[in-house]
Amino acid sequence: MTDATAARLRPASRPSLWDRIGQGRNALGLIFMLPAAVFLLLFLTYPLGLGVWLGFTDTRIGRAGVFIGLENYEMLLTDHVFLLSVFNTILYTVVASILKFALGLWLALILNEHLPFKAFFRAIVLLPWVVPTVLSAIAFWWIYDAQFSIISWALIKLGWIDAPINFLGDSTNARASVIAANVWRGIPFVAISLLAGLQTIPPSLNEAATLDGATSWQRFRHITLPMLSPIIAVVMTFSVLFTFTDFQLIYVLTRGGPLNATHLMATLSFQRAIPGGQLGEGAAIAVAMIPFLLGAILFSYFGLQRRKWQQGGAD
C-alpha cells in the first residue's frame, strides 16, 4: 500500500509533506531528474571543471599546483611542438572528415540501391567500426611497417617499386597514412547513419520527380540531399568530434612521430601530462581543444541545420 492511498484512507488529516511532494508536478519532476543531474555533475561537469582549473595551475603528477593564470597558455604559444600539433590536428580532422563524408555518402547511396545480398553487405560494412580501435590500429601498424608492410611487399613482387615505402617514417607519408587509417575506421559510422537517413526519405518524392522527368543527379541534388541534411549535420558533428579527439590510432602507429609530424593535441596532451608528469600543461593542451570543438559543433548546427523546412516552414 503506497503512502498516497494510505492518505486517502485517512480523510480527516491534511495531506502530509510527502503527499504534496508525491503529487506536485514540479517537485516530482525534480526528484526524477536528480539522478541524472548528479550523474552529469559528478562525471561530466566536475572532471571538465577540474581539467579547466588544472590548465591554470602548474600541477605535476604527485604535487598539487598553484594558480599561475594563463602562463601555461603563454608557454604553449611559443612552443613549436604544440603549434605543430594544432596544425596536425586541424589537417587530420579536415581531410579525414571530408574523405569520410564523401566516401560514406557514396557507400550509403550504393547500399540503398537494390543489391543482391543487401543485408550481408550492410553487416560487412560495419566491421571496421566493430573492431576495437586498438586492434585495427595494430593491424595498420603492420600494414605500414617500414620493413614488413604487405603493401610494399605486394608492390615489390609486382615489380612496381624497388624499396619498401616509408609509410610512417616520412612526414608527409605518415600524415597520409594515419589519415587513411582513420578514414577506414570512420566510414562505417557515416555510411550506416546516412543509410538510415536515406531510408526515411519517402519513395513517393522520388517517384514524383521521376514522373516530372528529373535526372538522377537532379533527384539527388534537390530531394536526397535536402532531406538528408539534418542527419548529415548530426553525423558529421560526431565524426568531426571523434576525429579531432583521436588518440589510440596515433598512439599505436607513431606516438606522434616521425619528428612530431603526426602529434595531435590529444596525444601531445597525454605525453606531457602522464609520462611527462606536467599535468597542468597537459590539461592546458586539452582545454585548448575546446574552442575548436565548440567551433565545429556551432558550425554544423548553424551552418548545416538551418533549413527553413526544419523550423516548420514550407520548402
Binding site: R60, I61, G62, R63, A64, M75, D79, H80, V81, Y144, D145, A146, Q147, F148, A163, P164, N166, F167, L168, G169, D170, S171, A174, T254, R255, G256, G257, P258, L259, N260, Q271, R272, I274, P275, G276, G277, Q278
Partner: protein
C-alpha cells in the same frame, strides 16, 4: 668490476678480523647489518613492472616466498605494464595510499622525494658490505645525501650484430671507437646488410641511442646547476656524426618504435642494432632461428671522443612509500631481497637482462655463462643518469618524456634540420622544463 680488498676492509671495518681475509662475503657479515623486526601482523604489497623475462618474475616470487616463510609476513606482488608504473607511482605518492613498495624507473623517485621513506641506513649498510653501489644507479636513488630508494638494476643495452655480416664487410673484430664504427656501418650498407637504430618515439631504444650519440661526443643536456647547455659545439659534432651514421641505416628508422629493430633484426633485414639481451634470446629460443642465434654477437656501444663508455640504459629502483603501515616489515623485506643469496639468484635467473646494483655481485655466473652476456654485465658501470650533469627531478623526467634528445638527433640525422637548428630547438624545448 671486482671488489677491491680495500673496499671490503672499509666496508667491514668493525669486523675486519672476523674474516675479510678471503674477500668473500660470508654470512658472518650479516650480523653487522641493521636489524628490522616486522610489525605484528604485517603484510606488504609490492607493485612492480611486468617482467621482460620469465625467470626474473619466478625468482622474485620465489625469493619473496622465502621471506614469507622466514618472517610470516605475506607479500602480495602485483605487476603493471612498465609504462604505467610512472603515473601509478606518482598517484600513489600523491594520494597517500596504494602499494607499500614499488619498483620504479629512472628519476621517478626524485619527483616526490618527500613522500618516500629514507632507506639510507639499509642502503649504506648494503653498500658497505657488498662493495659499494655503482655511481650511476646510486645517483638515481639518492637525493641530498639520502637514499630515497634502493637501486635494483640496470636494464642493459648493447650492440647486437651478425658476425658473418661483419666479417663479410671486412672486419674481424668489432670496433670499439665511434669512427671505426661508422666505417663498419658504411661497409655493412655496401654489402646490403645495413644497420638500424630507432629514430622514432621509442621510449627505450630511441633514448638509449640518442643519449649515446650525445654523450659519446662529450655533449650534455644541462650543467651541474641545471642550466641548459645542449646548444654546444660538442652537440653539433655529435649530430654531424649521427647524420653520417644515419646514411648507413636501413630506410624507415624514423618511424621505429621499441620493437621495430627487433623485428627487422630477426627477419634478417638488418645486421646490427642496439637492444637489450632479449633480442638474442628471441633468436636463441626459436628453433627456426638456431643458425641466426649462433651468428649473433654482442658488443658494448663504441667509445666516442669523450674517451669512455657512457650510456643511458634503463634503471629501476625500489621505493618505500612513507604512508606504509609496516615500514619495518618493508625494510626487512628489502634487506632480505638484496642480500647475496637472494639477489645473486635473481640476477642469474634474469638471464643478463638485469645488471647488478652492487659491485660485489659482478661475479654473478650469468655474465660468464654465455659470451654474449658480457657486454650487458657492464651496464651498471657505464650507466650515466638521465639529464646529466644536472639534478634529477621533474625537469629531467619531463625532458625525456617529451623526447627532446630523441627528436633532436632524429631531426639532424634525417636532414630535416641542420645540426645547428636542431640543437637550438632542443635548447628551447629543454628550457621550458629547466626554467627556474
Amino acid at each position: 668490476m671486482t671488489i677491491s680488498r680495500r673496499d671490503m676492509l672499509l666496508g667491514t671495518a668493525g669486523l675486519a678480523a672476523a674474516g675479510a681475509a678471503g674477500g668473500l662475503v660470508t654470512p658472518a657479515f650479516a650480523q653487522a647489518a641493521p636489524k628490522y623486526t616486522p610489525e605484528k601482523g604485517a603484510s606488504l604489497r609490492l607493485l612492480r613492472w611486468s617482467p621482460f623475462v620469465k625467470g626474473d618474475e619466478d625468482q622474485w616470487i620465489a625469493n619473496s616466498k622465502k621471506f614469507t616463510e622466514k618472517t610470516g609476513v605475506e607479500v602480495r606482488i602485483d605487476k603493471e605494464s612498465w609504462e604505467d608504473i610512472r603515473p601509478k607511482a606518482a598517484v600513489a605518492a600523491n594520494v597517500g595510499s596504494g602499494p607499500d613498495i614499488m619498483l620504479v624507473w629512472f628519476d621517478d623517485a626524485h619527483q616526490y622525494p618527500d613522500k618516500l621513506l629514507d632507506v639510507s641506513e639499509l642502503a649504506n649498510d648494503l653498500g658497505k658490505r657488498y662493495g659499494g653501489w655503482y655511481p650511476g644507479l646510486e645517483g638515481y636513488a639518492k637525493r641530498d645525501g639520502k637514499f630515497i630508494g634502493l637501486p635494483l638494476a640496470a636494464i642493459g643495452n648493447a650492440i647486437c650484430y651478425r658476425e658473418s655480416a661483419m666479417k663479410e664487410a671486412g672486419w674481424s673484430a668489432f670496433p670499439t671507437k665511434t669512427d671505426d664504427f661508422l666505417e663498419l656501418c658504411k661497409a655493412l650498407k655496401a654489402k646490403g646488410k645495413p644497420a638500424g637504430f630507432a629514430h622514432g618515439k621509442a621510449v627505450g631504444d630511441g633514448n638509449n641511442y640518442a643519449h649515446w650519440i650525445l654523450w659519446s661526443h662529450g655533449a650534455q643536456m644541462v650543467d651541474e646547476k641545471g642550466k641548459v647547455v645542449i646548444n654546444s659545439p660538442e652537440t653539433i659534432k655529435a649530430l654531424n656524426y649521427a647524420r653520417e651514421l644515419y646514411k648507413t641505416f636501413i630506410p624507415g628508422t624514423e618511424s621505429w618504435l621499441d620493437v621495430n629493430n627487433n623485428r627487422a633484426f630477426l627477419a634478417g633485414e638488418i645486421s646490427l642494432t642496439a637492444n637489450g639481451v632479449s633480442l638474442y634470446y628471441a633468436a636463441k629460443n626459436d628453433p627456426k632461428l638456431a643458425d641466426m642465434a649462433k651468428d649473433i654477437k654482442t658488443a658494448q656501444l663504441p667509445i666516442g671522443p669523450v674517451g669512455k663508455a657512457v650510456e643511458l640504459h634503463q634503471t629501476t629502483s625500489a621505493v618505500v612509500f612513507k604512508y606504509t603501515k609496516y615500514p619495518k616489515a618493508a625494510m626487512a623485506y628489502l634487506q632480505f631481497m638484496w642480500e647475496q643469496d637472494q639477489m645473486q639468484a635473481w640476477i642469474k635467473e634474469s638471464s643478463a637482462y638485469c645488471c647488478q646494483p652492487l659491485k660485489a655481485f659482478a661475479n654473478n655466473p650469468v655474465w660468464t655463462s654465455d659470451p654474449n652476456h658480457a657486454p650487458y654485465a657492464k651496464a651498471s658501470e657505464t650507466l650515466r643518469p638521465n639529464g646529466y650533469a644536472g639534478p634529477l627531478g621533474y625537469a629531467s623526467a619531463a625532458t625525456m618524456a617529451d623526447y627532446v634528445v630523441v627528436d633532436m638527433v632524429a631531426e639532424a640525422a634525417t636532414g630535416q634540420r641542420t645540426p645547428e637548428e636542431a640543437a637550438k630547438r632542443a635548447e628551447q624545448r629543454a628550457n621550458r622544463y629547466y626554467r627556474v
